[in-house]
Amino acid sequence: MLTLCICRRVDIGHRMPLLETEAIVLRTYRLGEADKIASLFARQLGRLRAVARGALRPKSRYGGTLEPLSYVRLWIFERENRDLLHLNSAELLESFFDMQKDYHVQLAAQYLAEVAERMLPEREANERAFRLLLTVLRALKRSGEVNRPLLYFDYWMLRLGGFLPDLESCSACGRALGEEGGYYGPGSEGLLCRECRLPGAKQQVSGTALAMVRTACHVPLDRWLAQEKAPPGCREARGFFEEIIETQVERKLITREMMGEEV
């Protein structure tokens, strides 16, 4: 049985009810001399930002729990008439610290964080997106492979957000895309066939890559990763989905650009 979207409230004082939630740390910012602001994706509360007092101090009670992508349990409180939430305490459930020692994996992990931060609405619990992020992080940690986990993540983030374009037919005329696949470019929301293709739609994603996505992304990620190696077309398909994500969030993704430089 999955965790219900109800927070257990532990009252520590009559004015400050504590909310308990699981969360994944997306990133942290420095606040003043010794505090951190954590951008979090909380399982029961959705995406939010909370202040962790003293978190930068060596003897801070947070230790390494608030490092990027940590899976944690948090106790949060909200002060009346303040927009920011405050952390009361945190407990590390699963660390993704060590895997990020590899710069390529760090880059991939921070890409997940950036997409989650941009695509998920604030204060809206999203159990499926939460499980997706956790699954992909674990896959990244276990396999050290970037391509399949990121493609899987892109596909499902778009699908869960309702932004996944039709992968079988032209978004303008509806004709089947077939082996040639479709064309896209900056600002695209879907694929165009050769006839409908606009001058800006310079990128192509092949029919083979699209067919691969339609099957591969519908088996559990672990089972897909158990197959020997990433099929051709992964990078091609990722390129397309990343473009759609950028269209939807209306900005360039910093980590996408940096991954491009690495290849």
Binding site: P58, K59, Q100, D102, I254
Partner: protein, 199 residues
């Protein structure tokens, strides 16, 4: 009507842009300067400009310095065979406080942090590699923070440097995970240097 006369409002706005200075502190400082004798304010303004004009990056190690190369790079008593790599000029002072390290420094001016757009090209690595190619350096101690970013940077450096035949070690013990190095006390920093490990 505005709260403050225009010049005072402008001063408060400028002060607020400084790190750790909020509206209240900015007001306090601005009023203090208003009441202070003109000579005091002139001395402060001159000191700010003087530091801005005279301080530059050492061409060898990227530390902040008045003379180029800096005193750490030119001091004959310091051991040129060991280089301690740090994130910021601030961290140099932290390591110096231990009085235990007698080698030289290299300041990266950041750590790998993709979300902030900081990749290897944004770090000051070029002149580090030049120093290593001179053949004089035997060991690199990587003293980046024990954070995800600090660790990724250390591992990246290790992969880059080891093929050049230079020993790479990393500070370890004493600095808790998730904290920033500049908050480490001297004892913690000393332990960190003693407990370095080869990578």
């Amino acid at each position: 009507m505005k709260d403050y006369a225009e010049p005072l409002a402008r001063l408060i706005d400028e002060l607020k842009r400084l790190p750790g200075i909020g509206q209240k502190s900015a007001q306090r400082i601005a009023f203090h300067l208003e009441r202070a004798p003109r000579e005091d304010v002139e001395r402060l303004a001159a000191a700010i400009l003087d530091a801005k004009d005279k301080i530059r990056l050492c061409s060898v190690c990227n530390n902040l310095t008045e003379l180029d190369p800096c005193e750490y790079c030119t001091d004959p008593r310091r051991d040129g065979e060991v280089i301690c790599v740090v994130e910021t000029p601030y961290n140099v002072i932290g390591v110096e406080k231990t009085r235990e390290f007698r080698g030289q420094y290299h300041v990266l001016h950041g750590v790998l942090s993709p979300l902030q757009g900081i990749g290897p090209d944004q770090l000051k690595l070029k002149n580090l590699l030049e120093r290593l190619r001179s053949g004089k350096v035997k060991e690199i101690i990587v003293a980046t923070s024990p954070t995800v970013e600090g660790e990724a940077t250390a591992v990246y450096l290790s992969k880059l440097i080891k093929p050049l035949g230079v020993k790479v070690s990393r500070i370890a013990m004493g600095v808790p995970v998730g904290s920033e190095l500049e908050f480490a006390d001297e004892v913690t920093m000393l332990k960190a240097i003693e407990g370095r490990r080869e990578m």
